[in-house]
Symmetry: C2
Subunit: 429 residues, 2 copies
């Protein structure tokens, strides 16, 4: 192939990100050609609605026959930006089987059934790149797959969902409750009409599964991720966090447990103000990594939006295209380590429990004894009288979730303790 | 070659970083083998002093004949951690000519004469990786070369020298002068006995040249970098920064100018507290990137030290080794854009000038008029009377350095203005 023979690109999906990718392929054509060594030619865009207005997009490129486009044998690179499990999986497999390298931002599919895609690509000798699937524009997949590949990562955690970060930010600033801020976020377009995927933590959990797979060279699926959304975070939780010098963030956290298994969870978490993740503002995502040699690293950037996500897609596109030109391949799936998931309840964290008790002598001692009975040692206790009641805030040292849950269950049964104990993880040790 | 045939590795230099790399090659041998697909075998370490005690290092591996080791035709990968221009350059070229891929942390050599190394590697068909040359453990070379390669970077800037960041931090905290804090940093081992390379900004300037080359696909050398160290930063500069809601950081800054040229400089700079770089503490480095699509990104981590730097070296080693195993090559030098350096004086910034004047009517007007005569518009002015003198602090809007310098030169000649005007860049617009 001569240097002027274009590499053919097919695009599946033309929403906010897809249309930006299509426009940038034109706008940056000369730079991309110079960086790849051959020009790119966008040969087709699969859409659901052929009639929709798409400014800056050549109508001639549109097709509603995605399968035919994805399967074209003359295409070199297929970009999938439709999202969801099907038909995205079928289309990606068709593209791979037709010999195309693929670029996808589809976190749901990769977290649900990534190995099927990776295996097909391995067999076909093509690349799968997916930088845009986690934390938008932030380069995190490549650093984990390549930069840190000579190191041993022990923790990857981060703020990987902008909607929930925006909502929690507003709850801190305004002192408002979740429902109120959600309604505002929906008005402003920061939250979807059906916000479930975001506020229940499914989106973050898919990203956590992908991060854990990469960091620990193992297969981690969405179903392996313990998940808790932010819908039950209250204004009084926020107040409690403030009192403890923390902010509440929805953290996706993947960590090596002491027994060599991997704990992967998404939970609203109190983050001490001194921690770099504490100050990440609403629109941003951030990933924090700890590894044996590198120590602490943090990556911050825009986690969503057309242009930032398009940047990640185009970086992958250039990399995959360069590989084509050189007859090379990027790194494939790495699962040699084969770590399993930490048994439920054996993940460790600090915890903060808020409870209301009858304000009478001996209650605090009883509460403390309950934690001690379950092997949980306490780092700090705050007590505040409210009439005949007292509100207790209890911060534990690092403890197994099973032990803390046991203590909470016992407390729940005590006549002096009011129903509705709130329990939250606290980052750090 | 079978899967059990080792890839042979030679190490040039066995100081803090080199010895950590050697130890990790043993400690992580099984992981590295799994990640690469073949084992690594360290076949030799070139040192100056064969007699020195090196805990954990097999004496049998040591040699003082670096050239013979680097030139061994049976070696696959050569790691250069000696630093300095010679003999590092000769050794790297010998290794490349013998068919080895090379990994280096040598920022001075790459900033001085990188193209010689890159061209030799291109001709020999081998890889040059150098993640450790800039900002230690922070993955920044790979994100610039690969993740952001589908985007247009407009600014890369950062805190890339830990020694000066530590000193400036202490000056802020303790209110002490430069000389005093330097002496303390030297006692604590944070600054070298001869601190010139750090405090005069040479180290940061070499890194700036490398970052600019990568970000703008052009050749930028150390000599292209305007450079100002921190030796003349005074306690009263720090006070002025605080008054303006800023901290002083030594920033390496590479930015696309409006005329398409590149401005690359290292200067003590006032950074507003709200900027993510403002809160980077002493021991850390951070790189901040702005690009057309991705928007703002920041990367933070340890910029120096044996283990963090070894992490970057080993990541490169695995990548280069994988390429060997697959018969592939990583990205080479990219200079297609051929941008030149912004003409001296035509780089733009905000500036803060501190000057002492006779406290008499009309002086402030005269000062303001002087800036206006040079086309510099002012954003803020502070005046404070001290006896018969007044101290003025003047913050400009974005202005060409030539214009601001012209105004300062005129002010210096005014009888009402005391000698010794202090001028500092201010980040942001």
């Amino acid at each position: 192939m001569g240097k002027s023979t274009p590499l053919k690109v097919a695009l599946l999906g033309c929403g906010v990100v897809g249309s930006q990718v299509a426009r940038q392929l034109l706008a940056q054509a000369e730079d991309l050609r110079a960086r790849i060594g051959r020009p790119l030619e966008l040969v087709g865009i699969a859409v659901n609605n052929l009639g929709k207005e798409r400014p800056g997009i050549d109508r001639e490129l549109l097709t509603d026959d995605a399968l035919s486009l994805a399967s074209r044998p003359d295409v070199d690179l297929v970009i999938e930006l439709m999202g969801g499990i099907e038909p995205a999986r079928t289309l990606l497999l068709a593209a791979i089987n037709a010999g195309s390298s693929v670029i996808t931002a589809n976190k749901a599919l990769l977290a649900e059934d990534g190995p099927t895609i990776y295996s097909a690509a391995e067999e076909a000798g093509v690349d799968v790149y997916f930088e845009a699937a986690v934390a938008g524009a932030i380069p995190i997949v490549r650093p984990l797959r390549e930069s840190l590949v000579g190191d041993e990562v022990t923790t990857v955690m981060g703020i990987v969902n902008g909607t929930t970060n925006f909502i929690l930010d507003k709850m801190h600033t305004d002192g408002a409750d979740f429902a109120e801020v959600l309604a505002e976020a929906q008005r402003l377009g920061y939250a979807e009409a059906d916000p479930t995927a975001d506020v229940e933590g499914f989106d973050a959990a898919a990203k956590a599964a992908i991060l854990a797979s990469l960091a620990f060279h193992s297969r981690v699926k969405l179903a392996d991720v313990t998940r808790e959304g932010i819908t039950s975070v209250t204004a009084s939780d926020i107040d409690a966090a403030k009192e403890m010098g923390c902010v509440i963030k929805l953290l996706a956290r993947c960590a090596l447990s002491e027994d060599g298994t991997i704990a992967v969870g998404v939970h609203p978490t109190m983050v001490p103000l001194a921690h770099p993740l504490a100050s990440i503002p609403g629109a941003y995502n951030a990933i924090f990594i700890e590894s044996r040699n590198a120590g602490r690293l943090m990556f911050m950037g825009k986690g969503a939006g057309g242009s930032p996500t398009a940047s990640a897609v185009l970086g992958d596109l250039v990399t995959a295209a360069r590989n084509r030109v050189r007859g090379a391949r990027g790194p494939g799936e790495s699962t040699y380590s084969g770590r399993t998931i930490t048994e439920a309840g054996l993940e460790r964290s600090r915890y903060y429990a808020s409870l209301t008790v009858h304000d009478e002598p001996g209650v605090l001692a009883e509460v403390a004894a309950t934690f001690a009975n379950h092997g949980v040692s306490l780092q700090a206790v705050r007590q505040e009288s409210v009439g005949e009641q007292a509100r207790l805030g209890v911060m534990t040292h690092l403890a197994f979730h099973r032990e803390v849950s046991g203590a909470i269950a016992d407390l729940d049964r005590m006549p002096t303790v009011q129903p509705g104990i709130s329990l939250m993880r606290v980052e750090g040790d």
